[in-house]
């Protein structure tokens, strides 16, 4: 039990003792003092009536004298007792009620309730520390895929926000400091069903503390951290944090991929889109010409490094170079929101512009000013706040970098679809032409919405029919599995992206590949294809229809009859 309960009980001692003492003194007095009954005989009040009288005297006063009118002696005693019992009653009851409403006590109660909820969880969940923009996006994405999450945040407002959110799964939330191991434990860090911890707070130090606590207390689980300083990232990596996500580096890498291989970056984009997102057009950042980078903070530096690596000419515009450090390339001092600074940075002959300060208003102003001077610019904007969506959308930048969304997307793929994450990592080693071809194949399958990406595992549980068939030693090809179980002349609109067989990855497996038990495939295609394929995987009759073209007798009697016919 929590300390606070003992403390509260201990503090109740004084008021309760006073209450008991005063009540018994008042009662004893009433019993001892002689009264007179209706006939004038001497009469002593008994304890029962004394208790009754004192109880209402101290709390209400005014039920009258019972059971007989009091004598002068009794009245004298009662007039004294009224004052001391009322005062004591108010003091005791008031103190006890105040103790129950005590904030620490109430917090302890909420924490206990929360811990109970966590103990009762019967499905695997992720522990999300920090419910800011990123946490919100991640929890939404996880619950949309029917995965469970538990949230800790230090601000009560954000936890309340979580309760108001309309999520598909119930997400318990605790208001507490995630730096304290006790809070992480309450939120289920040592729970056997806890699959991973995601540290998304806006402080690097807090994320570091969460990572190290999780790795020590529950070494088997995945720990995913957000960090934006290279020092901290190294520190986190040193004790085995599984994934460290730096939104600025991630975006810079994405930009570099887009410059080198537009199809590849589009492919990665499409595969990581959410279920109902629209497909986006490919972007072609200029491969030569001058780039102007406004803001040389964490984001500016990451982009600058990548652009220089690509061999591009870069000019940096920074208002406070003493604070941020100076790049090797030409530097213009200023915010970039005024035409003068931008002209000094040669905006008129620039091909690309990066508005990368940590202030959305400034970023927008930079873009508006720069466009007036040079209308052909390729524009990248850094969006700092999610609520600025409408204005950012209106300015129509070619690429938008929203840190919270990048991190949430990354983690969603990491947690929800490990094969997909592996695929996206593997394709970076491929040629752009390869990606272009795949892109055109995917766009033939889907309409305007993002393709569905799903995993298929040939395990007893996930694909009963296929497993049973393969274990009987009969050959089954991938192409056969991709047949529509409604009409075997049709193929399902999907593409096998990758095969994982005994720790080896094979990209784009061929249709005539023989499947084996415990294979894991990654498919992409339409939702229709996904649902149909699940049918084939689990239903033996659907599978046999695909393979033979005949509908097998399903019931016991029909099977018997068919057997007799054959023999």
């Amino acid at each position: 039990m929590n300390n606070i309960f003992f403390l509260i009980f201990r503090r109740m001692r004084a008021p309760l003792l006073t209450l008991i003492l005063t009540y018994s003194i008042a009662m004893l007095g009433l019993v001892l003092i002689p009264g007179k009954d209706a006939d004038g005989n001497v009469w002593h009040m008994d304890f029962f009536h004394a208790f009754y009288f004192v109880s209402f005297m101290s709390s209400t006063i005014g039920f009258g004298e019972i059971p007989y009118t009091f004598t002068a002696g009794q009245r004298l005693w009662v007039s004294f007792s009224i004052f001391f019992t009322v005062v004591v009653w108010l003091y005791s009851i008031g103190t006890v009620l105040a103790l129950l409403k005590d904030e620490t006590f109430q917090n302890a109660l909420t924490e206990r309730r929360f811990a109970k909820q966590i103990n009762r969880l019967r499905e695997s969940f992720y522990l999300v520390c920090g419910y800011g923009q990123t946490g919100e996006a991640l929890v939404k994405a996880l619950t949309d895929r029917n995965q469970h999450a538990v949230v800790i945040d230090i601000l009560q407002d954000r936890v309340n926000q979580l309760k108001l959110e309309n999520l598909r799964e119930y997400v318990p939330g605790l208001c507490g400091d995630a730096r304290l191991p006790a809070h992480l434990l309450e939120a289920g860090l040592e729970h056997p069903l806890c699959e991973g911890v995601v540290a998304l707070t806006n402080s690097n130090e807090v994320n570091l503390k969460i990572a190290i606590t999780s790795k020590l207390l529950h070494p088997d689980i995945e720990v995913i951290c957000r960090a934006d300083s290279h020092d901290i990232e190294k520190n986190m990596a040193s004790f085995g944090t599984d994934y460290i996500i730096d939104p600025f580096d991630a975006f810079a890498l994405h930009l570099a991929t887009a410059i080198q291989a537009p199809c590849l970056s589009l492919l990665q984009d499409w595969l990581s889109l959410g279920r109902r997102d629209m497909l986006n057009e490919p972007v072609y950042p200029p491969r030569k010409g001058l780039w102007v980078v406004c803001g040389y903070g964490r984001f500016g530096k990451a982009v600058y490094d990548k652009l220089v690596q690509e061999g591009l000419e870069v000019v940096v515009v920074e208002a406070d170079p003493d604070l941020t450090g100076k790049p090797k390339s030409p530097l213009v001092e200023g915010r970039g929101t005024e035409a003068e600074t931008l002209l000094e940075a040669d905006i008129e002959r620039a091909a690309g512009l990066v508005a990368g300060t940590d202030n959305d208003a400034n970023n927008l102003s930079i873009i508006m000013t720069a466009r007036e001077l040079n209308s052909d610019l390729f524009v990248i904007i850094r969006q700092n706040r999610k609520y600025n969506d409408p204005v950012i959308h209106a300015v129509g930048a070619d690429m938008v970098m929203l840190p919270s969304e990048i991190i949430a997307n990354r983690i969603r793929v990491l947690l929800g679809a490990p094969l997909q994450h592996q695929f996206v990592t593997l394709v970076t080693h491929q040629e752009d032409g390869w990606a272009c071809e795949l892109i055109s194949r995917i766009s033939a399958l889907v309409t305007r919405h993002a393709p569905e990406v799903w995993e298929v595992a040939f395990s007893e549980y996930d694909s009963h029919a296929v497993c049973a068939y393969v274990q009987r030693g009969k050959p089954l090809t991938l192409g056969e599995l991709m047949t529509d179980p409604r009409d075997r002349a049709c193929k399902l609109p999907c593409i096998p992206l990758m095969l994982l067989r005994r720790n080896d990855y094979f990209l784009l497996p061929e249709q005539d590949l023989k499947v084996q038990k415990d294979d894991r495939f990654l498919f992409c295609g339409s939702v229709y294809a996904k649902n149909r394929m699940e049918w084939t995987l689990q239903n033996e009759n659907a599978l046999s229809y695909i393979l033979t073209g005949e509908a097998r007798p399903e019931g016991w009697i029909w099977r018997r009859l068919r057997k007799r016919e054959v023999t």
């Binding site: 003992f6 403390l7 009980f9 503090r11 001692r13 003792l17 008994d46 029962f48 009536h49």
Partner: protein
């Protein structure tokens, strides 16, 4: 010497002695068991119970439990008394008196356990 311990021990032992005082005498004879004594037993037991609040040790928990048992028994005895005298107005017959006194006897047993535990704790302290 810890004044808290003195007060604590005092009330626990007093609860037992008063309880014994009420209990002795012929079981079913109303003349041998006075209502004032029962009142005193209940008040002292209440105080002893509240004094045991908020003790974090295992011993504290058991002590609190015994006190709660004693209180329950005594409340039952008081209730029987009130019912017999005021509600049914059958008066203190030998039957009711016997049940009142045996209830208080049960409470006394709980108080004995309390005192024994207190003694054990003191002996184990060795200071």
């Amino acid at each position: 010497m810890n004044p808290e311990k003195v007060l604590f021990g005092f009330f626990i032992v007093l609860a037992l002695t008063l309880n014994f005082g009420f209990f002795v005498g012929e079981l079913d004879n109303p003349d041998h068991h006075h209502v004032y004594e029962l009142f005193a037993v209940i008040v002292v037991n209440l105080i002893a119970t509240v004094l045991k609040f908020g003790d974090r040790t295992q011993m504290g928990a058991v002590l609190l439990a015994t006190s709660l048992v004693a209180l329950m028994q005594l409340f039952a005895a008081a209730l029987v008394w009130t019912l017999a005298v005021h509600v049914t107005e059958s008066g203190l017959t030998t039957v009711t008196m016997a049940s009142i006194v045996s209830l208080s006897g049960g409470a006394m047993l709980a108080n004995v356990v309390s005192v024994v535990l207190l003694i054990i704790e003191t002996v184990m302290l060795r200071r």
